[in-house]
């Protein structure tokens, strides 16, 4: 970690410092597979740059005794229209082991992009990933049961994409209200 980051760390709140410490461990292990730490006060996060490492990072975060991020609070899909990317944001924390929490971002191609699934690491990711797929259309490699979850199976388009155009009719029912 470079000195600039550490100096910035002095002005961080305690919670962000804890996240930073956790991040440092991940960075030490995976190096350039993860991005720099974003030490914003509301939701400190880092990004996984090497998609193929994402499951390894997840497993490391869950199982390493210093990290123990055993609780995935949330997994949200996001549409980064300007960067032409889709992504997920995972909010992780540790129940019963450490007080730290951190957010991880994983991004993929906007069209036909896919992200490795972490549903084998955190069971809860199963439905969250299905929801992200349902709403944004990125696929999750290795997901056991990747189907739409909230929209009907035969719905066209991915509703939460910024450029989504709602279909005119659905089984003869007029859709736009």
């Amino acid at each position: 970690m470079d000195n600039g980051m550490e100096e910035a760390g002095n002005s961080m709140s305690a919670a962000v410092q804890q996240s930073k410490a956790a991040y440092d461990l991940i960075r030490a292990r995976f190096g350039d597979a993860v991005s720099e730490f974003d030490a914003n006060p509301t939701m400190p996060f880092f990004e996984v740059l090497d998609l193929s490492k994402w499951v390894d990072i997840a497993l490391f975060m869950r199982d390493d005794s210093r990290l123990k991020f055993n609780y995935m609070a949330c997994l949200s899909g996001v549409d980064y229209l300007e960067q032409n990317q889709l992504g997920i944001v995972c909010n992780l924390e540790s129940i019963g082991h450490h007080p730290h929490r951190i957010a991880v971002k994983v991004k993929c191609q906007r069209d036909g992009g896919s992200i490795p699934s972490v549903s084998c690491v955190w069971h809860t990711a199963n439905w969250h990933e299905r929801e992200a797929y349902d709403m944004y259309g990125m696929t999750f490699d290795g997901h056991p049961d990747l189907r739409r979850i909230l929209c009907p199976e035969d719905w066209t388009g991915f509703p939460l994409r910024k450029d989504y155009q709602v279909q005119e009719t659905y089984h003869g029912i007029k859709v736009p209200y």
């Binding site: 914003n40 509301t42 939701m43 996060f45 055993n70 609780y71 995935m72 609070a73 949330c74 949200s76 899909g77 996001v78 549409d79 944001v89 909010n91 129940i95 019963g96 929490r101 957010a103 955190w122 069971h123 809860t124 199963n126 439905w127 969250h128 929801e131 709403m135 739409r148 979850i149 909230l150 929209c151 009907p152 509703p159 939460l160």
Partner: protein, 400 residues
């Protein structure tokens, strides 16, 4: 049980005897029956559909199908101003509107970085704890119905009615309050509110005891729920269970203590977890007990808040609300302890617009329900009903 699950596909049973011998039984040639439970079914608490593959009365597998009540909450959020989202959060978990509003407002306030008047914080805690009691009453009452006891349900609703009256009195609406606003409250409470809430607490305490005798201690109820739907703590955490569900598995985890918000750090209350005497830790009865105990903790919190709440002359509950709610660019994951667990909002603001770029709602029921497939393996249909009831889903929140 695991071996059984696999072997059942060939209508063969492998039964492990006490002395570790294995007996293989071949059934008559039977077929599985696919039983579609819901979306119109009395005990799926709304429009959940479970597709059960059943072997007689035994559920081999139950797959939940969601989305019948999907109302595009997240899509709406991207089209509506921040204050306009608050009434929609009510409609997510319609049994605990105040708590969900609180979670959302906490998030936007974090992005805005504004200071909330102390009196507002106290009122917020009182109303959300009242709402928590109301929500738990529905949970306990409907659980009774699921198991065939109708009367406790109506007793619960009778008492919930008083809470709804109290909340209607201050906010103007009975269920969909839009009371907690970003940076404040829509109205200050009426002068008599404190007195009336105190009266409610005195009125309600004996009623909890009665409910306990009528339902929780009833031997049939205990027999129906004890040891049903076991969820070990490890697995519960991995499924990201939260709220009474996680505490029912014996994990002492409550966001009001572990990620404190508002004035909860100043208040004295316990986080109830089952002790394993009345129930087996992690079963349906534990979850029910945790809810019953939480009602009492909530009453404690309300009493303390009534004592400590500052009285301010000519108080304006909207004083801290910014003229234009336009947060700086940034993102936040804010959450609060709802009656059903952790409700979180992941809000992304671009700093230019008065509408969020992205607002994801992490719904507690959605996450809790995800474990249904595992929980239902090898259960009887009556137990399946008991398990769904103990998860206490609100479909408005599951489908959003």
């Amino acid at each position: 049980m695991q071996e059984l699950g696999k072997a059942e596909l060939n209508s063969t049973r492998i039964i492990r005897q006490d002395d570790n011998r294995v007996v293989i039984e071949k059934d008559l040639d039977t077929e599985y029956m696919v039983l579609s439970m819901g979306p119109q079914h009395p005990s799926t608490h709304g429009v959940l559909r479970l597709e059960c593959i059943t072997d007689g009365e035994v559920v081999v597998e139950a797959e939940p199908y969601l989305g019948y009540l999907h109302r595009c909450f997240e899509k709406y959020c991207e089209k509506v101003d921040y204050p306009g989202i608050v009434p929609y959060t009510d409609r997510m978990d319609y049994l605990a509107g105040m708590n969900t509003e609180l979670a959302f407002c906490l998030g936007v306030e974090k992005l805005l970085d504004i200071e909330i008047p102390r009196r507002v914080e106290f009122i917020r805690v009182i109303v959300s704890e009242l709402n928590r009691i109301a929500s738990h009453l529905v949970a306990i009452g409907t659980y009774g119905i699921d198991l065939g006891a109708f009367t406790p349900f109506l007793f619960c609703f009778r008492d919930r009615e008083h809470i709804l009256n109290l909340l209607e009195w201050i906010s103007g609406a009975r269920m969909l309050y839009n009371y907690i606003w970003i940076g404040g409250l829509s109205f200050d409470v009426p002068a008599d509110f404190k007195k009336r809430v105190a009266e409610f607490v005195t009125y309600f305490k004996p009623k909890t005891r009665e409910l306990q005798q009528l339902l929780t201690e009833n031997e049939i109820f205990v027999k129906r729920t004890r040891g049903v739907g076991m969820m070990p703590a490890e697995v519960a955490i991995n499924y990201a269970w939260s709220g009474p569900m996680l505490r029912g598995s014996g994990v002492k985890w409550d966001l009001r203590r572990n990620d404190p918000y508002s004035i909860y750090p100043e208040l004295d209350f316990d986080v109830p977890v089952p002790d394993g005497k009345l129930s087996d830790i992690g079963d349906s009865l534990s979850r029910h007990l945790v809810r019953a105990l939480e009602i009492e903790e909530s009453l404690k919190i309300i009493e303390q808040c009534l004592d400590k709440m500052p009285e301010v002359e000519g108080f304006n509950s909207r004083s801290a609300i910014p003229k234009k709610i336009r947060p700086k660019a940034g993102e936040v994951y804010a959450r609060a302890e709802n009656p059903r667990g952790e409700v979180g909002f992941y809000i992304v603001s671009d700093g230019k617009s008065t509408k969020p770029l992205r607002c994801k709602a992490r719904s507690s029921c959605f996450v809790n329900l995800a474990a249904m497939k595992d929980l239902s393996k090898g259960q009887l249909i009556p137990d399946l009903v008991a398990i769904i009831g103990s998860i206490d889903i609100v479909l408005g929140e599951v489908d959003r």
